[in-house]
Symmetry: C2
Subunit: 290 residues, 2 copies
């Protein structure tokens, strides 16, 4: 369906899309652009892009699909930059972890004859940069599309097919519902992981060494999450503020209750809470998400 795609932002996700597109569609033209000259050079060295010009307009020109793979906070500015270069009927999509604010930032900049279909592949690693990308990043992973009302179903199906060709399982959702779901499944866990690892960095030097040494007891799993890209996550929290703060408040209430139960030595309360959480793990295993 798409003969020439253009990827703006050549980090982990952008370069992984190029790898996946190159593998699934050898005849497809895949151009790329990144604001950083260093990243452009490094991405070109991967050998998966057809061209990575120094001007964004040149990369966008003639593309029937442009995918914005920049941090959520940069989406609006990039949309403004590509707008004059988009051909009539071109599809613009993105990979942002927040959908409502990205739509608000991108949509006003795009010409009326360009079709914007927001998307979010739920895939990633703790590594960043073009070299971190690989063709299998999306294999077996969800990709959520949040098309706006009145979007041509044929075009939506074309984007769905593209993600399926990368190995993704595609799901449709409203932007608001997406943001609320992701606040719980991804944004809050990342915030908590960043916090706990940050707390450890402020301990006295001697015990910090022990924390590194004995991290296998649970802490280690949090450090992997807390090694994710700082710019990306700053933007996610700033752009999904409402949903994140709402779920964070619920979390705080539960944590305060557990803190009180520990302080007051209420074993039964702790036991009941810890039993109920086991059930969630069982359901995740049943849903084959483990």
């Amino acid at each position: 369906m798409f003969k020439k795609i253009c990827i703006i932002g050549l980090g982990l996700i952008g370069s992984s899309i190029a790898h996946a597109a190159r593998r699934a569609h050898p005849a497809m033209t895949v151009t790329g652009y990144d604001a950083s000259a260093d990243i452009r050079t490094r991405a070109a060295a991967l050998g998966v892009f057809s061209a990575i010009p120094d001007a964004i307009g040149e990369a966008v020109s003639g593309a029937d699909l442009i995918i914005l793979c920049v941090p959520v906070g940069a989406m609006g500015e990039v949309a403004a930059q590509i707008a004059p270069h988009c051909q009539s009927g071109a599809v613009v999509s993105d990979v942002g972890s927040v959908k409502k604010s990205v739509i608000e930032a991108v949509q006003p900049h795009l010409p009326k004859d360009v079709i914007f279909i927001p998307a979010h592949p739920i895939a990633g690693t703790e590594h960043s940069g073009p070299e971190a990308g690989f063709a299998d990043l999306f294999t077996g992973r969800w990709c959520i599309l949040t098309p706006l009302e009145g979007t041509d179903a044929v075009v939506t199906e074309a984007l769905k097919s593209l993600w399926q060709s990368f190995g993704s399982i595609v799901e449709f959702m409203s932007p608001k519902y997406h943001d609320r779901t992701l606040a719980i499944t991804s944004h809050l866990p990342h915030l908590i992981a960043y916090t706990i690892v940050g707390t450890a960095t402020e301990l006295e030097k001697d015990i910090q060494a022990e924390v590194i040494k004995f991290s296998a007891g649970g802490f280690r799993d949090f450090t992997r999450i807390a090694a994710s890209d700082p710019t990306m996550w700053r933007d996610i929290f700033l752009n999904n503020q409402e949903a994140v703060l709402d779920i964070l408040q619920r979390f705080n209430e539960d944590l305060t209750a557990l803190q009180k139960a520990i302080r007051q030595g209420k074993g039964e309360e702790l036991f009941d809470f810890f039993t109920k959480t086991r059930e969630v793990r069982r359901r995740i295993i049943e849903a084959k998400q483990a």
Copy 2:
């Protein structure tokens, strides 16, 4: 050094010790006991125990090493039960995740001619019960010994050698320092994971299904930790109250600061915090603990 060892408590850790001992020391007698008749039957079916009698005294009798593998809160009671049956010069050890309270609970019950050496293998899975045990659970994992002052070095070395024969790397530490280190590396991460998964279970039914479905975004990692044995973790929090509440307070301060930064849209503050946590991951990878 040890010809007959007796394991009290035949869950994940107890049965893994039996598997490891059977593999490393085929000639060793390994008896077992569990307060539950059902667990005794299931553990006997594993075929790794020399005997699992119905009376605790019979299991302990003639053993030169008795390892208590029961929840931290049951250690004192079990010590009282085994005390009359311990032979002179026998070594008693444990596997509890808290050391100070276990020493206080166990030591007073033991006869003067019995040597208590507290231990904590930092190993486990989210699975419980005798069937969850396996010989390699301790391979390449730390085992911390916290011997009391005046303990015969020869005996301590013997216990160290035994854990090394199971594949563990042995480290010595004071009980108090152990409890503080583990509060950070293991107890707080578990408390946080239990909380976040608990928070999700109280959401409306429809979004709960989405949380399960899209758990791969970070939430899933927490559910694994939050599926750990509820009795074991209840006891850990009740018995390491002081260190856990102290680190929890620091965590709460950091979380409140991040919450405020999100609410006030302070991007630079978030970015700086998320950058600092990356460094911890790098150090864990350098220490080969990743």
